[in-house]
Symmetry: C2
């Protein structure tokens, strides 16, 4: 079996590694000659809208998937005319536009922070007056890892923010003083078999995910599953999806969803019976899903911008390293480590050991988890 | 980092997959254009004694290892003049010659079944008279998966067996009516840090391993570790090694050792904190070892000659599939499945479900495990 992937980054790489175990070869279309999935997949070096390349990908694959939201929608439509595409294009379309996404949550009765669509600077000022400060201004499209958004703390900042984000259609949301950031990773098969992973607690810094840890048995699991199930049904979803929530006053507000495998599910490689990557492959190929039950306790720490010396990381007991083989530059996700234990009480010690390694931003990110 | 591997079969494939997680690229030298490691490693298609290819492998690699015992010793000596080779060549030399191997066990005080070296048909007849029947006649070299050996049940079979095995130097051993077949997989780092996996119980049929299952806490663990430690010390060993034992009257007799990752250690991918493949990579690269502690209970079943329909396999709860991407022919190892549970009592049910799938030889192999 062959699976085509739009994108050749670390998510495609980990999908391809999971695929090999199942006897599935991946093809990854990515314009970067050094795409990090290339050593484990057949790499088609081409622009995302190169129709010849898209045809090659479609014709060689039993089905096609994608590893990032910003795949040109037209390209996927072109592929979908020639091959099965999972998750469905409707999910991608919703995730590509924050207004569409938030309206979908609202229509499904999934609570969100209050938001208003804004199309010019005057409507932004009016929306901020309505919503209150602080507020978060977000471009409707092309945002990831905190890019394309600005926190507004004073009315005087509105115009500069509007211009800085490109004076394009945006939404403005109330800034939510959340208790926790949680995400729920779910997988649904072609036959609608559905399996939820335990909730994940996440810690972001500068808009980039830093640390995730599994929360099996969390009191909010059922609430989250109920919301996510509405989304799956509405979108006729197939594959892995991640939905990010803010916990506020003991309830959940949906922030966004990703129609793909997700950084906050990386801990499942060691911490769940079947990881998100294998389950995505199983789902889109029409194979039975694997158990999403957690095994032990896992915490995942991203390496952003720089990599520590790997011998030092591996010297910490129960660390599991994942290096993506990418060239380093600031803000780039270069790898992650999963700390895995039988006993959650051992995690803070391990995290402290990891924190002691070079890399200041990690130290900050760990504080909340350790305290 | 780069690791060169002599051989491009499923062991090289699983080493390469483990390597990618650590950011390590493998190069696999294998004369077969369709070597199953090729999709996940840089494949050097060349004969094992092609000196230009061996030089390319050596110069491109931080260190070189091997995935099978029958690598030409001269080739590895040639490589060792240009690159670090682990495990040491002395271990390979011992494992390549059953007489050398058995003499080594004897010299180290590791019990073995009684054996005698034989160089011609007359000395074989004499040895059989001394050792008694049934006995096992084995070529000293080039044996694997039960090839190169014959069980002698009557004196009248001696001459035919001698000729059938090629009238080359052999050993004849007493046939041991063992209670269990066990193997111990161990890893030792360049700094001599040593970690033992729990004992594995194995079931062979027609000389090929069929089923392995982990035996954490087995009463014989310490005995086995004591014997294996002597071997590691004598050979100044680095890397993963597997030693196969027969359990007889509650004690252990060493059968053979493999200076490499081993089929009876495949269950460690799911059933141990760090699998044998990753630990071999860590060891030979001078990195700290990972924990070899078991996680839950695991049983591994080989797919020999034919593959079942993979959807049927994955429909059995808690199965983990490993397909090697090899062309099918009788007696060939094409893949394996690990059954993993929290609770050993669930294993027989899972095995029965697997047994019910097409493939008669598997049914036979499971009987002992299930009963």
């Amino acid at each position: 079996m062959k699976v085509g992937i739009m994108g050749g980054g670390q998510l495609a790489r980990m999908l391809a590694l999971a695929g090999h175990r199942l006897g599935v070869h991946c093809l990854a279309l990515d314009p970067q000659p050094d795409a990090c999935a290339a050593p484990v997949a057949q790499h088609i070096i081409a622009a995302y809208d190169d129709r010849n390349a898209l045809t090659r990908l479609s014709q060689a694959s039993d089905c096609v998937t994608f590893e990032f939201e910003n795949v040109p929608h037209g390209s996927l439509q072109f592929v979908a005319a020639q091959a099965a595409v999972y998750p469905p294009l409707s999910a991608l379309a919703a995730a590509q536009d924050r207004l569409h996404e938030k309206n979908l949550f609202r229509a499904l009765g999934i609570p969100t922070p209050p938001f208003i669509a804004v199309d010019n600077c005057a409507s932004l000022a009016q929306a901020v007056a309505e919503i209150g400060l602080p507020a978060v201004l977000k471009r409707r499209t092309q945002g990831y890892d905190g890019k394309g958004q600005i926190v507004l703390r004073a009315a005087s900042e509105i115009e500069a923010a509007w211009l800085r984000l490109g004076a394009v259609p945006m939404i403005v949301e109330r800034f939510v003083p959340f208790e926790r950031e949680l995400s729920l990773v779910v997988v649904r098969g072609r036959d609608l078999e559905t399996a939820f992973y335990p909730l994940t607690e996440n810690l972001h810094h500068d808009g980039i995910l830093r640390v995730s840890w599994s929360r099996p048995g969390d009191a909010l699991q059922e609430f989250a599953e109920d919301y996510v199930r509405r989304l799956l049904d509405e979108l006729k979803y197939v594959g892995v999806m991640a939905v990010e929530f803010f916990q506020v006053s003991g309830g959940l507000l949906a922030n966004e969803f990703a129609p793909r495998v997700h950084n906050s599910g990386h801990w499942t490689i060691e911490g769940a019976e079947t990881c998100q990557f294998e389950n995505h492959m199983r789902a889109i190929l029409g194979l039975p899903l694997g158990s999403t039950a957690s095994v032990g306790c896992a915490a995942m720490v991203n390496f952003i911008g720089t990599l520590p010396e790997i011998g030092q990381v591996l010297a910490i007991p129960q660390t599991h390293l994942h290096i993506y083989g990418k060239e380093a530059y600031p803000g780039r996700k270069l790898g992650h480590v999963t700390l895995w234990t039988h006993d959650r009480r051992a995690l803070p010690t391990r995290l402290n050991q990891l924190r002691a390694l070079k890399g200041g931003d990690r130290a900050r990110a760990f504080r909340a988890l350790i305290s």
